[in-house]
Symmetry: C2
Subunit: 278 residues, 2 copies
C-alpha cells in the first residue's frame, strides 16, 4: 500500500518512515502485545523487514519487548507524542468539564475531535454502568454514526461531510443504486439530520452504536462558529425526552465553558483549524 520509497542513496527516507508508521498502526486497544510475525502480517511487510523495523524501534524505546518477546508500544513513544501535543492540551482544557458531567450524570462521558471525516476520541470517562461505551481513547469512529460526530459535522466545512459520507459508502459491500446516486441519497439524508442538530443545538442518536444506548453530544465551537471538538454522554435508549433535553442542556453549557478555556489559551494552541482540504 505504502510506496516503496528510495531507501538506498539517502535521497528520501520516506519509504522507511511509511513502514515505521505501518508497524505502529497495527497496535490498538485490542492488540496491545504482538509477536513480530503478527506485526509483519498485519502491516503487510516481509518478515525480515518487520524484524529490522521493530528492532530499530525497540532500540529507541518507541516499542518495548515483553519477557515473552511480544512487542508493545513503548513509553518513549507515548512521551514524545504527548509532551507538547495540541491534542493533549485540548484534553486538559476539557478535563474538569468532563469530570463535572460524569459526576453529575453518572454516564460515560466522551470528548472528541473531527479528523479526515472521522471522529477521533480524545478522552473519555468510563462510568460504572451496564451500558457499553464504544468510544475508545485515540481510536476513530464513524462521524455519521455517532452523536459526537454529528455535533461537529453540523458546524464543519462541507469537505468534512463529503469525506464522512464517502467513508460511509466505502464500507458498504455493494451499492444498491448507482454510486453517484448513493452519494446523493446519503448526502440528502445527512443534510436533513445536520439541519436538525443545528436547530436543536445538540446531536442525539438512539440505538445506533448499541440497541440499548443513545448518544447525546454538543459541539465545542471555536472561531467562525466552526466545531473544535464535541462532548457527549451515553444514556439508556429509553431515556425520556425531558431527560435528554436536560443532558443536552448540561452538555451545551460545559461545551461553552470548554470553548472559553480554549480562547483563554489554556489549551496550548490546541485549536488548529479543522482540515479543509479535499
Amino acid at each position: 500500500m505504502a510506496a516503496a520509497g528510495t531507501e538506498a542513496g539517502g535521497a528520501r527516507d520516506d519509504g522507511y518512515l511509511a513502514r515505521v508508521i505501518r508497524v505502529l498502526e497495527v497496535f490498538d486497544s485490542e492488540l496491545t502485545a504482538l509477536k513480530v510475525s503478527a506485526i509483519a502480517g498485519a502491516a503487510e511487510l516481509p518478515l525480515p523487514t518487520a524484524y529490522r523495523i521493530v528492532g530499530d524501534l525497540v532500540s529507541h524505546g518507541l516499542l518495548g519487548r515483553d519477557v515473552d518477546g511480544r512487542i508493545r508500544l513503548g513509553s518513549r513513544l507515548w512521551e514524545l507524542a504527548n509532551r507538547g501535543s495540541p491534542l493533549e492540551g485540548l484534553r486538559e482544557a476539557a478535563r474538569s468539564e468532563l469530570i463535572s458531567v460524569h459526576t453529575a450524570t453518572g454516564f460515560h462521558t466522551n470528548f472528541a475531535v473531527l479528523r479526515e471525516g472521522t471522529v477521533l476520541v480524545v478522552d473519555r470517562i468510563v462510568a460504572d454502568t451496564d451500558l457499553r461505551n464504544r468510544s475508545i481513547t485515540a481510536a476513530r469512529m464513524s462521524a455519521l454514526r455517532s452523536s459526537l460526530g454529528l455535533a461537529m459535522l453540523a458546524h464543519a466545512p462541507y469537505a468534512q461531510l463529503r469525506l464522512a459520507i464517502a467513508l460511509e459508502l466505502a464500507e458498504l459491500p455493494e451499492p444498491s443504486v448507482g454510486e453517484r446516486d448513493a452519494f446523493a441519497v446519503a448526502e440528502e439524508s445527512a443534510k436533513r439530520e445536520l439541519d436538525g442538530v443545528r436547530r436543536r443545538g445538540y446531536a442525539a442518536q438512539r440505538g445506533q452504536q448499541d440497541t440499548n444506548t443513545m448518544g447525546v453530544a454538543a459541539p465545542v465551537l471555536g472561531e467562525r462558529g466552526l466545531a473544535v471538538a464535541s462532548i457527549g454522554v451515553i444514556m439508556p435508549v429509553d431515556t425520556t425526552h425531558a431527560a435528554e433535553l436536560a443532558a443536552a442542556e448540561r452538555l451545551r453549557h460545559v461545551a461553552g465553558r470548554i470553548a472559553d478555556r480554549i480562547d483563554q489559551g489554556q489549551a496550548g494552541g490546541a485549536v488548529s483549524r479543522p482540515a479543509t482540504r479535499g
Copy 2:
C-alpha cells in the same frame, strides 16, 4: 550526539530514526509551535536536514503546520502513540481514582510511573487553587525531588535509585567532594529517606518543588511488591500532620484499588516490569 548512521545503502535507517526522534524531542508543554529554524537549532541539526525531516513528518501527519508556517506535533502521532499504549491503559485504570481523590480533597492530583530513574507523569487533574503543580503530563521530573518519585523508588530495583542519584549529581555544577564520595553521601541520604517512606507507607516532601507546597504520594504496588506507579497530591506546605496523614491514608487506599484494577487486567497489559537493566 546521535550516530550519523548509514543512510545510504539501506543497511540501517538508525541514523534517520534517531534524527526523527531528536526533532520530536524538541517539543514540550512550553514549546508547542516552532519554526523549522528553531527546531534545527534545538535538535542540533543542519537546517537542510531539519527541513527534510520536518517535511517527511508533516507529509505523514506526525507533525502539523500552522497557517503561519510554524510546526506542531500532529494528531496522527498522538493517535499512533496512544491507541493501544500500555501507558494509556494504565492512565485509564487509574482515572476514576484520580477523580475521587481530586473531588474529595480539592488538590492537584498526579499519577506517574518510574522510567530510567526519573518520574514520567502519566496523568494529572489540575485543581482550581493558587498552589502550583509542577507535574506536567508526559513530562519528566527528578525522582528524588518529588514525592511521586520517592514513593516508587522505595519499592523499585536498586538500579533505579542508582540512576536517580547519578542524574541528580549530573545536574550539580561541580562536586564539592570527590565524585565517588558525592555518590556515597547522596546514596546514604536517599536510603535513609526511602527507609522512612517504606516505614510510613507513603512519601512526603515539604517545600521541595515550591516553598509553599508539599507533595504527598503513595505507591501502586504490583508483582513482587514492586512499584508500578504512584499517585499523589499537592497540598499547602503548612498542612497539619493530621491532615497529611488523612491525605496519605486516602492515597494508600486508592493506590490499592488501582493495583486491583491492574490485576484484573483493566490496564490492557500496562504492567510491564520496571526496567531493571543497569
